[in-house]
């Protein structure tokens, strides 16, 4: 009996201990968010701090210390990109910033390496156009921990944590689609018959293709006469644009409007339309997006009726954002590039002064 009681006592003690441990664990679990929250809070204040501390340092010695901007570019894969690079270099020089420029040659590893070296060199602001959307969390966190604000240009990242970068400066592809659609709606507002539209989409699944399609459709819905009778991908290239347009012309006898997601496809389609004995811009109205040099040339010749600009010259806006960040101002998470539109006449005027 005595022994039994002792056994029970040990058991009771054991259970009590386990409960205590469990409770402790539970408490720990319950408590754990608060440390992480509190660790987040300092981090947040930390990221705010450098800009505050940068502000006095900048205002204190603007003359003797230049602002250093690290920029990691995607590469030089297109005329658009080259113009983008040039704009950033020129406006950095104008703003009196020291620009550390790195070309990633379309490889994410190179870009991450470049950003790490910017962090080591303790630049004031890092800006970059991510090659791909994903896989940036680690390096962005490193920048944040080092207290260097990051600005994304032209392309976005898919990080859930938006505190990792200060702002995303770039084109709004949906808006581009809307602008294209709006012009068409205005052109055909008194249309009493159906207007047949064919669409040359960009690479299937790419953000510009999806968004330019969505924006366009959203606007032309307002007029039931505007009908998209065929839509196919031209993969953003001239060759495919021509091939698909040629098939469209065979399959549909009464195309009124062509909407191409970029200039190159429109240029290919123009050749197909000419080969079919029709006049591009007259027999078939053409709307396109991008406004690269060849596209503007075609527009000035009246072969493209309306071009929505996708502006690579975001240097000045980037420098403004850099200044705002350094002065500790609140800036919006999303800054849309200033973009214009061109009709044929406007293209003719603008062509001589175009930089790209």
């Amino acid at each position: 009996m005595k022994m039994f009681g002792k056994k029970w006592g040990v058991l009771a003690a054991l259970i009590a201990l386990m409960l205590a441990v469990a409770a402790c664990g539970g408490k720990n679990e319950g408590a754990s968010p608060s440390p992480s929250e509190s660790s987040k809070a300092p981090a947040a204040s930390e990221s705010a701090k450098p800009s505050e501390s940068a502000k006095p340092s900048e205002s204190a010695k603007p003359a003797d210390k230049k602002v250093v901007l690290g920029f990691a570019q995607v590469g030089a894969e297109s005329a658009w990109r080259t113009a983008n690079t040039k704009s950033i270099q020129e406006s950095a020089a104008q703003a009196g910033f020291e620009l550390k420029f790195s070309d990633a040659q379309q490889k994410q590893e190179n870009q991450i390496k470049a950003i790490r070296s910017f962090i080591q060199q303790k630049v004031d602001v890092i800006a970059f156009s991510p090659v791909v959307e994903s896989g940036w969390d680690t390096v962005l966190k490193e920048a944040k921990d080092a207290g260097i604000p990051v600005i994304l240009t032209d392309r976005a990242v898919d990080s859930k944590d938006t505190s990792l970068y200060r702002t995303f400066l770039g084109s709004d592809f949906v808006e581009e689609g809307r602008k294209a659609g709006q012009w068409l709606v205005d052109q055909y507002k008194d249309a009493s018959e159906d207007v047949n539209i064919v669409e040359l989409q960009g690479t299937t699944g790419s953000a510009p293709a999806n968004d330019r399609m969505a924006g366009f459709q959203e606007v032309i819905k307002t007029n039931p006469h505007l009908k998209i009778i065929a839509s196919q991908t031209g993969e953003f290239t001239r060759a495919k644009g021509k091939e698909v347009m040629q098939a469209f012309l065979q399959a549909h006898k009464d195309i009124d409007v062509l909407y191409a997601h970029n200039d190159d496809m429109a240029l290919g389609a123009i050749q197909a339309i000419e080969a079919a004995g029709l006049k591009p811009g007259t027999d078939i109205k053409i709307i396109s997006v991008d406004a690269v040099k060849d596209g503007m040339q075609a527009a000035s010749e009246g072969k493209i009726n309306f071009i929505v600009e996708c502006n690579p010259l975001l240097g000045p806006q980037l420098m403004e954002a850099v200044n705002a960040v350094l002065e500790g101002k609140e800036i919006p998470q999303r800054i849309v590039t200033k973009e214009g539109t061109f009709t044929s006449e406007q293209a003719k005027e603008a062509l001589p002064t175009r930089q790209y």
Partner: protein, 345 residues
């Protein structure tokens, strides 16, 4: 009848006919050919015109595959050749002179031959596996093409150059005649001389061929050079068709389409016997399928799935084993019924 069924071209032609029949039923306009500005105009002509580069690349690929090789670099060679030609024309003075266009074409084709020789050297000389050896140029070639074009799209304005890809001769696209000439050249070289036999024997067993007195290395190098040459001409046609060179996108995935065309045409990837006519029909099937998809308005998001299904069906029909399995199943299914009929009679 049985002899027709057994002919190696029967199934490819049947598939092509089925595709054309589908188009005819879908829209009778498909076969309408009109005359416009002294040239024929219609879907069939478009298929021949746009299919021309693929046919050329596939002809070269057939010989490489017959010699038990594979050339993954053709797409890149297409891009390089187009870039080289357009660069020469845009840099040259005199704009539209015939001499300049010939120089450009010569430079592009010379470079293509060199690239083919490089592949041949890696495979035959250095003894690297063909798939790896040509993969090198497939990857590097895009870089070279972009280097030539400086990462930009070079637009040329030269009607003489554009004639190669979009001009018309006797009402037909000029590119068709290029294809015809090259096809005849390849056929004559391989069927009227011993070269075809050499290629087939090297494809079956390089060592045995060497012991029999064939210079296997030279034969292998020669087919890669020829393949590079074909890809070079395809590059000229492609770039001249749109009057511009795009180092990034020109000829992308051509190697895969070409290999597919060769396989549909009845040539085995294991090397040995090859069928040039089959390859041409295979390439036409692929181009007809592409045009069909554009014409019938298949949504872009499922285009590739549709293509994959048709290709799968074509390959299954082509497969001897699959056909026999089908026939056998059909026979065993019928058998009990036949027996029943026999019993009641």
């Amino acid at each position: 009848m049985n002899r027709i069924l057994k002919h190696h071209l029967f199934w490819p032609i049947a598939v092509l006919a089925a595709l054309l029949l589908f188009n005819f039923l879908y829209s009778s306009d498909f076969f309408r050919i009109g005359m416009r500005g002294g040239r024929l105009f219609g879907s069939l002509i478009d298929i021949l015109n746009f299919g021309a580069p693929l046919i050329l690349v596939a002809i070269g690929m057939t010989l490489v595959i017959a010699a038990k090789g594979i050339d993954l670099s053709v797409g890149s060679v297409v891009a390089i050749s187009g870039a080289m030609a357009c660069l020469t024309i845009s840099k040259g003075t005199g704009g539209d002179s015939l001499a300049l266009v010939l120089t450009a074409a010569g430079a592009a084709l010379g470079l293509s031959l060199l690239l083919g020789l490089w592949n041949g050297f890696l495979v035959a000389g250095a003894g690297i596996q063909p798939i790896i050896a040509t993969l090198i140029l497939m990857v590097a070639g895009r870089g070279i093409a972009q280097l030539i074009t400086d990462g930009q799209i070079i637009t040329v304005n030269s009607p003489k150059y554009q004639y190669i890809g979009s001009g018309a001769l006797a009402g037909l696209p000029f590119s068709i005649f290029i294809v015809l000439a090259l096809f005849l050249l390849a056929s004559l070289l391989t069927r009227k001389t011993a070269l075809g036999l050499f290629i087939e024997s090297v494809g079956v067993s390089p060592r045995a061929s060497r012991l029999a007195g064939i210079r296997s290395g030279w034969v292998i190098a020669a087919v890669y050079v020829f393949c590079g040459f074909c890809a070079g001409i395809a590059g000229l046609i492609l770039s001249s068709n749109v009057a511009s060179a795009d180092g990034n996108n020109a000829g992308q995935w051509y190697e895969l389409d070409a290999i597919l065309a060769v396989v549909i045409g009845g040539t085995s990837l294991n090397g040995g016997r090859f069928y040039l006519t089959g390859t041409v029909i295979g390439a036409l099937i692929i181009q007809t399928l592409t045009t069909t998809i554009y014409m019938t308005g298949v949504p872009p998001t499922i285009t590739l799935v549709v293509k994959a299904f048709v290709v799968l069906a074509v390959c299954l029909i082509q497969s001897e084993t699959f056909r026999q399995a089908l026939v056998q199943r059909w026979k065993t299914r019928r058998y009990p019924a036949e027996r029943e009929v026999a019993r009641h009679v």
